[in-house]
């Protein structure tokens, strides 16, 4: 293979890859160190932003992928002739928030915090694969325990569950 500028090689890889590319994978293909890859990725990210390109570099699922800038969403929706996709209900988001911060947690414990019996909500979230059963609580009835999924992180554009702001910080907002 004739030697090419590494940055354009990485850009080309990101363009054709359908799944997020990890720095490891890129470093294997390009045959440069992971540190060099990280540096070049950063350069790419900055260039896209500085030149107001129609491309952005996003980090997700411990990998990198190319996507569009949020401010251009209206045009893309027009191209696909779809409106903005439906969002989760308030009840679903509250339940998700409780599960995300208090996992593993049972249905009864979720209901106690919300003050509402939300039987259907948990099922919907399970079906959408935003939460999953992670075990059973060793208490009478051995109720199922729920936790968030990788799909949850992807949906909200988080790399890690620890990217959620600490609960106490949310309280400070008052």
């Amino acid at each position: 293979m004739p030697e090419q500028p590494y940055k354009s090689v990485i850009e080309a890889l990101l363009l054709v890859a359908e799944e997020p590319l990890t720095p490891e994978k890129i470093s294997q293909v390009v045959e440069i160190s992971k540190e060099e890859v990280a540096g070049l990725l950063n350069e790419l990210r900055e260039e896209y932003e500085r030149h107001s390109r129609g491309i952005r570099l996003y980090e997700a699922d411990e990998g990198y992928k190319l996507g569009t800038p949020p401010e251009l969403s209206a045009y893309i929706e027009k191209l696909f002739s779809v409106g903005a996709s439906p969002t989760l209900s308030r009840a679903a988001l509250e339940t998700l928030a409780i599960i995300a911060y208090r996992q593993p947690i049972t249905r009864v414990e979720i209901d106690a915090i919300r003050g509402v019996k939300g039987a259907g909500v948990v099922d919907t979230l399970l079906k959408r694969k935003l939460i999953q059963v992670v075990g059973r609580k060793e208490s009478p009835g051995r109720p199922q325990l729920y936790g968030t999924t990788p799909e949850f992180l992807k949906y909200f554009g988080l790399n890690d569950i620890h990217e959620l702001p600490p609960l106490e910080k949310l309280q400070d907002k008052e």
Partner: protein, 248 residues
């Protein structure tokens, strides 16, 4: 509709309680349980007056609040309170306990708000993935024939599409849309009523019996009643709906 009263919608009793406490603009720990209980009940009454369905959780909370309020009036040593608390969703032992629960709920409400913002932001980003081109193809809809054109043209189009499907090895899907305008339907009903000597059955107004048609016909009928153009009645409960022209 002559007037509309707007009541804020709450996700649950804690949501409503927090709203009430916040409205008082005092430190949450110094709330008066009596006042909060009264305001809470007032809100439920307003809901009732507007014929809004009150979820059972709101009533359970009302009972819990009243219990707390009355507890303060009785000597604490009273054996009346000794009975076993059943482990309900809403077991509230004291005002402090109530406040703690409201505050905890409030935290997650904030967290849900954070998630909502993330969600909004994420929905605006599009990625190249194997899934998107398919969406693109699926949603490219165009009307190529409607009732104003010759039926033969539809047959020809269908044949062409079938050939294309074979040639390009793709799958094409067809949707037949029926469109009913409310105005058209109202006009259709009044025309029918004028021509008819005897009352008409609702079912006789339907042509395709699709859900959409039933709904729009019913809407049209309600609108005609509202405009005093038609009179509608049933002989018995769940009986067929009869319609006649309302004499001016």
């Amino acid at each position: 509709m002559a007037y509309q009263v707007k009541l804020p919608v709450f996700e649950g009793p804690f949501d409503l309680l927090f709203h009430l406490i916040q409205k008082q603009e005092i430190d949450i720990w110094s709330i008066s349980i009596t006042e909060i209980t009264d305001q809470y009940l007032e809100y439920l009454r307003a809901m009732e007056e507007l014929n809004l369905e009150i979820a059972s959780e709101f009533l359970v909370m009302a009972a819990a609040l009243l219990r707390l309020k009355s507890k303060r009036l009785l000597p604490s040593s009273s054996s009346f309170w000794e009975e076993e608390d059943d482990k309900e969703i809403l077991s509230i032992d004291s005002t402090e306990d109530l406040i703690r629960k409201v505050l905890e709920y409030r935290l997650f409400k904030e967290a849900a708000f954070f998630l909502r913002e993330r969600e909004k932001e994420q929905k605006k980003i599009f990625f190249r993935s194997s899934r998107q081109p398919r969406v693109y193809r699926q949603t490219r809809q165009e009307t190529i024939w409607d009732e104003s054109q010759e039926p033969e043209k539809l047959a020809r189009l269908f044949q062409q599409l079938q050939e294309r499907e074979l040639k390009e090895n793709t799958r094409l899907s067809f949707t037949v849309t029926e469109e009913y305008g409310l105005r058209q339907k109202m006009k259709y009903i009044t025309d029918r009523l004028k021509r008819s000597k005897s009352p008409l059955y609702f079912s006789s107004l339907l042509q395709s019996h699709s859900v959409e048609e039933i709904i729009i016909t019913f809407f049209a009928l309600l609108e005609l009643c509202n405009q005093s153009e038609a009179r509608v009645w049933q002989e018995k409960k769940f009986g067929p709906i009869l319609i006649e022209v309302k004499e001016a």
